[in-house]
Amino acid sequence: MNKIADINQIRSFFPALEQSVNSKTLVYLDNGATAQKPKQVIDLVNMMNSGINGNIHRAVHELSSKTTELYEDSREAIRQFINAAQKEEIIFTSGTTASINLVAASYGGKYLRKGDSVLVSEAEHHSNIVPWQLICESKEANLRVLPVDENGNWRMDMLDNLLDSSVKIVSVSHVSNVLGLINPVEELIFKAHAKGIPVLIDGAQSIVHIETDVRKLDCDFYVFSGHKLYGPTGTGVLYGKREILDSMPPWMGGGDMVETVTFEKTTYAPLPLKFEAGTPNFIGAAAMLEAIRFVESIDKKFLENTERSIVEYMTEELLKIEGLRLYGAGENRISLFSFTVNGAHPSDLAMIMDKMGVALRSGQMCAEPLMRRYGVESMLRASFAAYNTIDEAEYLITSLKRAIKMLS
């Protein structure tokens, strides 16, 4: 089958892109927050809601079987997508945040002792900070922070000292949702493993832009959300190495995760169901299959080249704007750009550009510690996906300049 290498063909799959906002053609550049959905995903969700809908793993009737089949097919497709060894290592969750909370509560709950540490980076999203704070507080453990430099790169020179024997897990993003830089996760994983420390990689942003092989990375956990990967809202994945997941106690109880239940003692289902309590968003999870298929239908070189041209164009044009500071300086990045402009408040810029049809994110990006590190209250962010074009990037720059002028 020929892979797609035509931007208009890609765009044709997305009904959302045809809409106007404020009487202007939508230029959707807030993909770091959530992505639009292709017809294939929308149609499967509708089809299931219209008929292939029976609770999974529970009944023997036809609807239940068909639904379960789609759910499990999706699990297998995700396993292949990230090259995990077994489908038992793929847990469906409601998103990245839930996945991290699961690991923090379950793995952290079991292995953290008083005086232990958890290492995160200064550039993490709150969802990869707060779950660790919660478990550290209850275990009297410490949250340790790997700083970033002015350019937004991890202070790898400080890593060896930070990774002492008190650290029981490292949890960091492959790509920061603010800085857009691709972090040296391979090196970090290597160093952590040399000291017997497991690593969780937050792939919420990176899964959309970087081909991910969890075995090659050798990460112990990998998490991401379906809704940023063109899938339905309320879906996500936790990947964990078999041995680690097997060693972890359940997090939520009830439903699919049980094996036998008596009031005296309950035993738990094996993986992956051990961590899938209650009726999941099975229609959403099943529809992730179509999202994965959509991504895989695009020619990889085409995607890479488009992304690279957008990165080159945006970096060059943004840096030409007077008074603009781009956070995350560097070429090794995805097409995600956070910046501030002197004398123009990000929310003012975002409001004006919204009227021009451009959807951007303004604010603290759920990364207050990083905002504080750079001494700003908020930033403006443009984040691109597979359906965005260079024309849209050009329109963004033109509208940005116009908005800045209005505010001066």
Binding site: N22, H345, P346, S347, D348, M351, I352, K355, S362, G363, Q364, E377, S378, M406, L407
Partner: protein
């Protein structure tokens, strides 16, 4: 003038704008001319934090009337704030408690009052009402 009359005046001022750009330009102008809250009054206690922009609100009660001064680091927000100060400042607590905010919708700016927690404006309006209730006791 009653609160209703001030609101009516504002609605009339905005009715000449058909284009969002003109509305925003006007708000930006208003924002630039809003008296800046005295630095000493920009206290933590007066800060209404949203994650889109910061808003400061100061209230003083004198001779039965509440006087508001306010500021924001975002200029369009500041423009909207100047309208709110115009409507609500130098009023009795009772007037404020009984006032509605339909005029915001009528000038087409209700999206700026959406309940995303990011928005300091909605919190500011709540705070104005809270001050009114406190001073009416």
């Amino acid at each position: 003038m009653t609160i209703k009359e001030v609101e009516q005046q504002i609605v009339e001022e905005f009715s000449i704008f058909t284009d969002w750009m003109d509305k925003y330009e006007y708000l930006i102008e208003l924002g630039k001319s809003l008296p800046i809250i005295k630095e000493g009054e920009k206290l933590e206690g007066n800060l209404i934090k949203g994650c889109q922009s910061r808003v400061w609100l100061n209230a003083e009660f004198k001779d039965g009337l509440i006087y508001f001064t306010a500021d924001s680091d975002a200029i369009i927000t500041k423009g909207i704030i100047s309208l709110l100060v115009r409507v609500f400042s130098e009023r009795t607590p009772a007037e404020i408690i009984n006032a509605d905010l339909n005029f915001i919708k009528e000038i087409g700016l209700q999206e700026n009052l959406s309940p995303t927690r990011a928005n300091g404006l909605l919190s500011m309006i709540k705070q104005i009402k809270i001050y009114a209730m406190a001073y009416s006791a």
